[in-house]
């Protein structure tokens, strides 16, 4: 057994922070995120009921604050929900005109061959196409799926705060349902375009069900069409253009990986510099099933991603990766939970990124091995490159182990470019600036290489190189 390092935290502390406790306080009075506004969204009766229940529940819950353990280091106290209103509530569909469709198609094409395409614009379904047969998979609105009502919330049980808000205001939840035993060669691509005016709040919702024994890949992008952070040949905000609009984006993704299934999931966030993102990706992994997930965080003003992976079946495995680059004064905030409840389960987490200028990153993660999860193996690693003096990274790995016969390790690094690596390259005659460029580019190349889907890998590699300022092209 590897010796756990760091500071194990008592289960109680995490349990309080990580789940919905009893809420005694009356919730906030918000002018826009009201049950009435939720009721104004279109949809089938069950979806309307579901939204209403969530909106009521949200309205009676206190908002999270930085005093809460899982919101420590965050900027949540600065988020003023009154400045936003949910997209889709008072629209007549005219905004769809704003869809820069050529741009989105170029981006999608950059990802290579696909089995299906879903595009939402400010949460409203705009494009739906599947090239795989119905015998392999279905892609569509949850409301058009026979089991849509049951599928929503299967993985993310008992949501609170922002996932609850997503439940209340998601306009067109999307379901990707892969038939048992299906082998889908090319990935399904889901693009959530955020394009509304300042104050728009968007709630993308995606549910992926990989049926027993199936193999499938999904690439999900949350993009501001104008941010230009993806290396698809388009440029970012040009100087002299209007200031970027402040928006709120709350994507929720549920990944249900059934027994013996294999799901590769890549998510890429390239939102505008004034956008708030509060994302949640939750997965359950069945017996002998595998999830390989990879998150890329490029944009946003404050962009948070919570990743919860529950290993619920014997010998299930999750491989969790993330790559990020912070610039300007943005904050990229990652919270992870590797939750082992079945025997012989493995989880392997590696989150790597860099902070430049005055940006800030947070990584806080927990490995939980519950009683009965014998012979489990969990790894949690977080590497942070701090490229400028004004940048900052917090890294807080944690373990909560209730079982004896397990292997767990965690570790993190925070610091500038490694002095020994720099010395090695300089000893070959490479200038210090060039050596640093090579090391930073190498750092990102080594993690971009691990993107599980080939088409996305190229785009991710180029985007990371561009964002890090060390593009080799």
């Amino acid at each position: 057994m590897r010796t756990p390092t760091g500071n194990p935290v008592s289960p109680g502390v995490w349990t309080r922070g990580w789940s919905t406790g009893p809420r005694s306080a009356r919730g906030p009075t918000l002018p826009t995120f009201t049950p009435e506004n939720a009721a104004g969204l279109p949809g089938s009766p069950w979806l309307v009921r579901r939204r209403n229940a969530a909106a009521e529940s949200f309205a009676s819950s206190p908002l999270p604050t930085e005093k809460d353990e899982v919101w420590r280091y965050s900027r949540i106290d600065r988020l003023d929900l009154d400045r936003f209103q949910p997209a889709g509530s008072a629209r007549a569909g005219t905004d769809v005109v704003a869809l820069p469709s050529a741009r989105i198609h170029a981006l999608v094409d950059a990802l290579g061959p696909r089995s299906g395409l879903v595009v939402t614009v400010d949460g409203v379904l705009a494009t739906l196409a599947s090239t795989a047969g119905d015998d392999l998979l279905s892609v569509g609105r949850a409301t058009d799926h026979d089991e849509g009502e049951a599928l929503l919330g299967t993985v993310l049980v008992d949501p609170h705060d922002f996932p609850l808000l997503n439940d209340a205001f998601s306009v067109d939840p999307v379901v990707i349902d892969v038939r048992p035993g299906a082998s889908v060669v090319d990935p399904v691509v889901v693009v959530h375009v955020v394009s509304g005016s300042a104050g728009t709040a968007v709630f993308p919702r995606t549910v992926v069900r990989a049926g027993s024994g199936s193999t499938v890949g999904v690439v999900e992008l949350v993009v501001d069409a104008a941010s230009g952070l993806l290396a698809d040949g388009h440029t970012a905000w040009s100087p002299g253009s209007e200031p970027p609009p402040e928006r709120l984006v709350v994507p929720v993704t549920e990944l249900e990986v059934h027994d013996d299934a294999s799901l590769a999931y890549v998510s890429i966030q390239s939102l505008g510099p004034a956008t708030w993102q509060l994302a949640h990706q939750a997965s359950t992994i069945g017996a002998h099933a595998t999830l390989s997930s990879y998150a890329v965080a490029l944009g946003g003003g404050y962009a948070r991603l919570r990743t919860d992976s529950a290993l619920v079946g014997d010998s299930g495995a999750s491989r969790l990766r993330a790559a990020f680059i912070g610039r300007d004064d943005q904050m990229l905030d990652f919270r992870t939970l590797q939750d082992h409840s079945a025997p012989r389960t493995t989880s392997d987490l590696l989150f790597m990124g860099a902070v430049a200028e005055t940006s800030h990153s947070v990584y806080s993660g927990l490995i939980r091995v519950r009683r009965g999860a014998v012979k489990s193996d969990a790894v949690q690693t977080n590497h942070n490159l701090v490229l400028d003096e004004g940048a900052h990274a917090d890294s807080v790995p944690n373990l909560d182990i209730e079982e004896n016969d397990v292997k767990c390790s965690h570790g993190s690094t925070v610091g500038p470019v490694d002095e020994d690596q720099r010395y090695y390259l300089e000893s070959r005659g490479i200038e210090p600036e060039r050596a640093e460029q090579l090391i930073v580019a190498g750092f990102f190349e080594s993690i971009a290489d691990q993107v599980p889907l080939a088409g996305a890998r190229d785009l991710v590699g180029r985007s990371l190189a561009e964002r890090s300022g060390v593009s080799r092209g």
């Binding site: 002095e419 010395y423 090695y424 390259l425 300089e426 000893s427 005659g429 090579l438 190498g442 290489d449």
Partner: protein, 242 residues
């Protein structure tokens, strides 16, 4: 100072609070191989680090010149550009940076060093460095022996005027030692490479002929001689010198 000389004169250096090299002097000329032998703790590795300017070491006195250029006044990368190469005892892993990328960056843009790729393949063949390692990130997942071949390969591509080999024989099997020793020996003839080979054992000198052998003890050269000195040390140990 004349050209073709690597001159260390009365070098005093160490780590903060501890002087390790206490007045070391020696001169290597182009095409010569000098061995520096000494027991653990004599200052061998410190010498290598100080010559290349590794962070964490400080120079207290003395001079080091390469063809008359004051190396100690230069940052590490300019020492390399001036013609010094250090084959490290523990080559460092640099994830995501390949050999060809680093060697291309190692020379000034537009310099007379085109064809790094070709030289790389030729040198790899000469020392038996597996081609499949060429695209690997530097030293990542390489065995100790492969790392030393890799250092020698870089020496061959970069063609420095003088090379310091810091225990290049450690971690090498007999075949690899022969490959590395032969390549360095040939370089002394091919372009007049001067070599300062730091080693604990004589076995390196079986494959790399030393013109001069220095025995280092407590930070000073305490004996200098021909290759017979290495044999004496091998037979009697370092006890007589410490």
């Amino acid at each position: 100072m004349s050209a073709g000389e690597f001159v260390i004169e009365d070098l005093r250096a160490g780590i903060p609070g501890r002087e390790i090299l206490k007045g070391l002097s020696l001169t290597v000329r182009s095409g010569e191989v000098h061995a520096v032998m000494g027991p653990n703790g004599s200052g061998k590795s410190t010498l290598a680090h100080v010559l290349m300017g590794r962070p964490g070491y400080e120079v207290l006195g003395g001079t080091v010149t390469l063809d008359g250029v004051d190396l100690l006044a230069l940052p590490t990368w300019q020492r390399a550009r001036a013609g010094l190469f250090l084959a490290m005892q523990h080559p460092i892993e640099v994830p995501g940076v390949s050999l060809v990328e680093s060697l291309t960056a190692a020379r000034p843009v537009g310099g007379a060093d085109d064809g790094v790729g070709e030289r790389l393949h030729a040198e790899a063949a000469r020392i038996g460095f597996d081609e499949r390692f060429l695209d690997r990130p530097l030293n990542v997942d390489l065995s100790g022996g492969e790392r030393k071949r890799n250092e020698t390969l870089q020496l061959g591509v970069l063609r420095p005027k003088f090379a310091v080999l810091d225990e290049i024989d450690s971690g090498l099997d007999v075949d690899a030692l022969a490959d590395v020793g032969r390549r360095v020996q040939e370089a002394t003839g091919e372009w007049g490479l001067g070599v300062l080979a730091i080693t604990h054992f004589r076995r390196l000198l079986d494959v790399l002929h030393a013109d001069v052998v220095h025995v280092l003890a407590d930070g000073r050269v305490v004996a200098t001689g021909g290759s017979e000195l290495a044999e004496t040390v091998d037979r009697t140990g370092y006890a007589a010198y410490t």
